[in-house]
Subunit: 238 residues, 2 copies
């Protein structure tokens, strides 16, 4: 892909080439930011990984700041879609939807040998050295993920998996605050331990422990959301 | 302070000047790493803040990697001493010692307007771009802080503030995983909200809710560790 394609981008195939190159730059950018963060990632390295010649960056993005902002937006949307896919799965009870998301997130980190973390967490940590415009954008991503998680926890409360006085919004915020710490620690230790300890302790803590322990019910039943599962037998921590 | 002092550092006063300069470099280094992280902090900027001429860095540290390692060690020790000061305060009940530490940590972040976070958390997040030798060093700092916190939680369990089957080591690990996420979020949002939400939810979750709610007892009583306090009246989350 050469930068000359960009001069023709009003018509068919060149437009496609332009989009492909821009896409390749975004993929390389997300990989760099999840692995090394913003400050340690050079634009030259990203261009080189995407096979784009030096000097043609500004054909694709008006500034490095705009490029970073686009990467945040893409990552946020990718993750929101992942949350929706799990939280909308009515074959599982609401808390098991959350468990499925957590398993997916674990697998995502394991796939890259725990070298890649969360782009939003990385940039949040680095805000002291980043364009101020990212601050609100990053904070809003967390609010969005929390809102989706709160919906799932509300469904869990309605299904009797949480206590009736549980506060889904607060628990969702608590979860996302801590989960970013867990991603950080798993990346540091290069293993799944911290992710799993955090999620299991969180779940054991919030899951209602005093409800009726019925017989084992297949989670794939559509009624799973309304029926107690064996997991409820686990005592609360602390 | 000039670099010439270093050539005389075997005897009295020059040795003191050498130590002072080295100390100033470490203070400026810790400030830079807590605020901007490692990748975004230049040695030149740190030298300049410490009033040390460019080019004399290697009189004080054999390499940038050794300098970073020294900063991790100092920060770890500083924080371990802070934990010991609070956790060793027998005027408070064990859980109130933890509360006192949390209040101190909040005040520490507020003092710098939430611009400075945790040096160990920042470098842990950045490990993908740092010398590999830091990985074990950083992981061990967390283990050390967790061990001190687990001792405090063991005391809380023995004092009846936690349930008899609470697992102090696991709760301490859960706390430190999540707390680093809370520091990250408070730095991002530039306010105390995430720190407070995390610590309050954590405490409400672990504190034993089924014990006798006695009359209010002054925390400063030496017997505080053995007597229930009003906080126990708070219902558990979830």
């Amino acid at each position: 892909m050469s930068s000359t394609t960009t001069t023709l981008r009003k018509s068919g195939r060149p437009q496609a080439a332009y989009s492909e190159t821009r896409e390749a730059l975004c993929r390389a950018g997300v990989a760099a930011l999840t692995e090394r963060g913003f400050s340690a990632s050079g634009i030259d390295e990203i261009l080189s990984k995407a096979g784009v010649p030096k000097g043609s960056f500004y054909h694709y993005f008006r500034s490095k700041e705009a490029f970073g902002s686009e990467l945040i937006r893409r990552y946020a949307n990718y993750f929101a879609a992942k949350l929706d896919r799990h939280f909308g799965n009515e074959l599982l009870s609401p808390l098991n939807r959350l468990r499925a998301f957590l398993g997916d997130a674990e697998a995502g980190m394991a796939r890259y040998d725990f070298r890649r973390g969360c782009l939003v967490g990385n940039l949040g940590q680095e805000m002291g050295a980043l364009p101020e415009s990212y601050r609100d954008q990053l904070a809003e991503v967390f609010l969005d993920w929390q809102a989706r998680t709160a919906q799932c926890l509300t469904a869990a409360r309605n299904a009797g998996e949480l206590a009736p006085d549980a506060d889904p919004a607060r628990l969702a915020e608590f979860f996302w605050i801590g989960w970013e710490g867990a991603v950080l620690r798993s990346k540091l230790e290069r293993n799944v331990g911290p992710l799993r300890l955090f999620s299991q302790t969180f779940l054991a803590t919030i899951e209602r422990s005093d409800r009726f322990i019925g017989p084992f019910v297949d989670d794939r039943s559509r009624k799973a959301a309304q029926t107690p599962s064996r997991r409820a037998a686990r005592p609360p921590r602390g």
